[in-house]
Point group: C2
Chain length 145, copies 2
DNA sequence: GTTGAGAATGATAATGATTATCATTACCAA
DNA sequence: TTGGTAATGATAATCATTATCATTCTCAAC
């Protein structure tokens, strides 16, 4: 589906900042970007956008169900494409790379644990902070991408 | 162990703000307090402390291993006594109550998942946001305590 | 294609949590 | 008791995020 149609479906007018921000997330999954990441990337690519617009658009996209907001370690939140299905994250403490996973055993176990204690699960976040053992892991942190 | 001795062991001088803050956490477990919670409670109890001191002391206690910092939903972080052993949390979306749990199956599964993907787990956070089904759950949010 | 009402933008001020400064005060070893 | 030094607290500064508001842009109607 074209991006401008995506926006139309979400009840949002097709504007340059919105199209460019949608572009950044592209079709590439496992892409977790902060407002500042996006602001910086747009300026680099010659799109003269305001930081206020970035925050506004991200919030609108989140409310429209296009994006999902995440809170990893650190102070700033990141956004990713809404993949329609829940998943959890492994964050590399060396390079900041984020990998996604879904595990039925963990999911089921959480419901059981909550039920045993008199809770009905609404949502959850599981973030594993780990060291990447791969050879190509750049041994320095550089913002969660 | 007396509180002033606890402070001495941590290499910290025994001062009124430090003793009073340590007091607040007391022996009661499952006590998760934000800097502002603590600041407010101290003022209420007649201890005229500055908010800067609260933040400073919390950081010192965390570095000394007396407290652990947590990040639940929302903007402010909370602290709890360092119980020496890892645990995860269920947060009631109605009243904000926090319950703790530890599940060996989930812990083990995380290590397996990470290993399969070439990661060595360093740390993790699992927070379940749920609705408390108990009758005495006050149906309003009132800050995470 | 032109146009106008209303939405969107961006510069900037405001906010809320947290940290840094720095002059004053309190702790404690001698 | 006292002096050196660490701790405190009022306040300014910082950082991410949100609110304001005058200006610009979009798009449906003509
Ligand atoms: Mn993800
Ligand atoms: Mn806890
Ligand atoms: Zn999950
Ligand atoms: Zn755990």
């Amino acid at each position: 589906m074209s991006q401008s149609l995506q926006l139309k479906n979400a009840g949002l007018k097709s504007t340059l900042p919105r199209l460019k921000i949608l572009d950044l997330f592209g079709s590439g999954l496992e892409c977790h970007l902060s407002a500042d990441d996006i602001y910086r990337k747009l300026l680099e690519s010659g799109v003269d956008v305001g930081i206020a617009t970035v925050y506004r658009v991200l919030t609108q996209f989140e409310q429209a169900g296009l994006l999902v907001k995440r809170h990893f370690e650190g102070d700033k939140s990141v956004f990713e494409l809404n993949q329609g299905k829940h998943h959890d994250h492994i964050v590399c403490l060396q390079c900041g790379k984020v990998e996604e996973f879904y595990d039925e055993i963990i999911e089921t176990r959480q419901k059981t644990i909550a039920a045993e204690r008199g809770f009905s699960v609404n949502d959850h976040t599981l973030s594993i902070y780990a060291d990447c053992l791969k050879a190509d892991c750049p041994n320095k942190r550089q913002g969660i991408v």
